[in-house]
């Protein structure tokens, strides 16, 4: 049995089956809040644990999918290029916003983490939490964080950020769609961008641009942080 489960196609198949089920469910049901990603992760964990399937067996096939994250990062250049007109029109607001946002993301997690008594390993795993997943995984690798924890915190941040955004904007009286979009994309990456498109088109485009830019800028901050904290 273990030989069959260790076949790389098994992990690939299990991920595809669970993924297609939840993406299908989201597309046919009214539950737009469903995160197919979070549900797929949950179901696969339950199946592996419930059926006593070793994680290493699943990993054989899962790694094939994970190896696509690098090429996906490259692909993020395409939406940036497609929306370059919007980018250049509001370049100062977007560049300063994503730079300040991504720096504050790292600092806030760093200080809150210490305040809450988290160990350095956890703080480093949570620091990429606002960065879009393919880039966030690289960030977690640079900091030697727990990649699984980084990914789950990225998803939780995205879901919670999209949920809380209307309240934050209301309390702070932020009505400008550019400010809302940059804040959503910088904080809540792809999931926030979904919310931004519900607000309006400019807000959505701004959010989409901010994902890639905030990701790129975050990596610079994280490389800098690593050089300062752990000089070789």
């Amino acid at each position: 049995m273990i030989e069959l489960l260790s076949n790389p196609i098994f992990g690939l198949f299990l991920t595809l089956i669970c993924g297609s089920f939840f993406w299908w469910l989201k597309s046919v049901s009214k539950f737009t809040w469903i995160s197919p990603l979070l549900f797929s992760i949950g179901l696969i964990i339950i199946l592996l644990q419930g059926l006593n399937i070793p994680y290493e067996a699943y990993k054989q096939g899962a790694d094939i999918i994970q190896n696509f994250l690098g090429p996906i990062t490259v692909i993020l250049a395409v939406p940036l290029y497609e929306h370059r007109a919007d980018l250049f029109r509001h370049k100062t607001a977007i560049l300063v916003g994503t730079t300040v946002g991504s720096l504050s993301a790292l600092l806030v997690v760093f200080f809150l983490g210490h305040l809450f008594g988290l160990s350095e390993l956890f703080i480093h795993s949570l620091m990429p939490k606002s960065v879009t997943t393919p880039i966030g995984i690289s960030a977690s690798e640079i900091l030697n964080g727990i990649i699984g924890l980084s990914v789950v915190s990225i998803i939780i941040t995205g879901l919670f950020g999209a949920f809380i955004a209307p309240t934050v904007f209301k309390v702070l009286k932020i009505k400008n769609p550019i400010a809302q979009g940059v804040a959503l994309g910088t904080t809540a990456h792809v999931i926030g961008t979904g919310k931004a498109y519900e607000i309006d088109r400019v807000c959505g485009a701004m959010s989409g641009l901010s994902i890639g830019l905030a990701g790129v800028i975050s990596i610079f901050w994280i490389v800098l942080y690593r050089i300062i904290m752990f000089p070789i």
Binding site: G11, T15, S35, P36, L37, I41, I44, I45, L48, Y58, K59, I65, L69, G70, P71, I72, T73, V74, I75, A77, V78, P79, L80, Y81, A93, V96, G97, V100, G101, A105, L112, F116, G117, L118, F122, L126, S130, I135, S138, A139, E141, I142, I146, I147, G148, V151, T157, F160, G161, I164, L172, N176, A179, A183, T187, A188, V190, G215, V216, I219
Partner: protein, 117 residues
């Protein structure tokens, strides 16, 4: 064939990025270097949008699918995380509100200032 062609282009940019990342004196994601080159190639019209459009639309639409394995990998370190789960959730929720507020206020201020000028 068009899918093969577009995959070849993306993989070539990615591997070039990884190759350059290898010779950098600090660790830096090769994918981001590839992103930069692809953006330049599109801007300089060495490549046209149609050369990568089909594949990029697909990957962007279903991007989250490719994160499933990374998320599942949390089970291999769950026993480590278990004890700290409450402070972790606390940091995630609080920091998300603070970061969103800082970013929104910064951009709002910049846009207002630009409109006054």
């Amino acid at each position: 064939m068009i899918i093969f062609k577009q995959l070849n282009i993306i993989f070539a940019f990615y591997l070039t990025g990884e190759g350059i990342a290898l010779i950098l004196p600090f660790s830096f994601p090769g994918g981001l270097i590839g992103l930069f080159f692809l953006y330049c190639a599109l801007s300089l019209k060495w490549l046209h949008l149609e050369d990568v459009k089909l594949l990029s639309d697909f990957f962007i639409k279903y991007m989250a699918f490719f994160f499933i394995p990374a998320g599942v990998s949390i089970i291999s370190s769950y026993s480590l995380i278990e004890s700290a789960i409450i402070p972790i959730i606390g940091v995630l929720i609080l920091s998300t509100i603070i970061i969103m507020a800082i970013t929104a206020l910064t951009v709002d201020y910049l846009v207002k200032r630009a409109e006054h000028d």
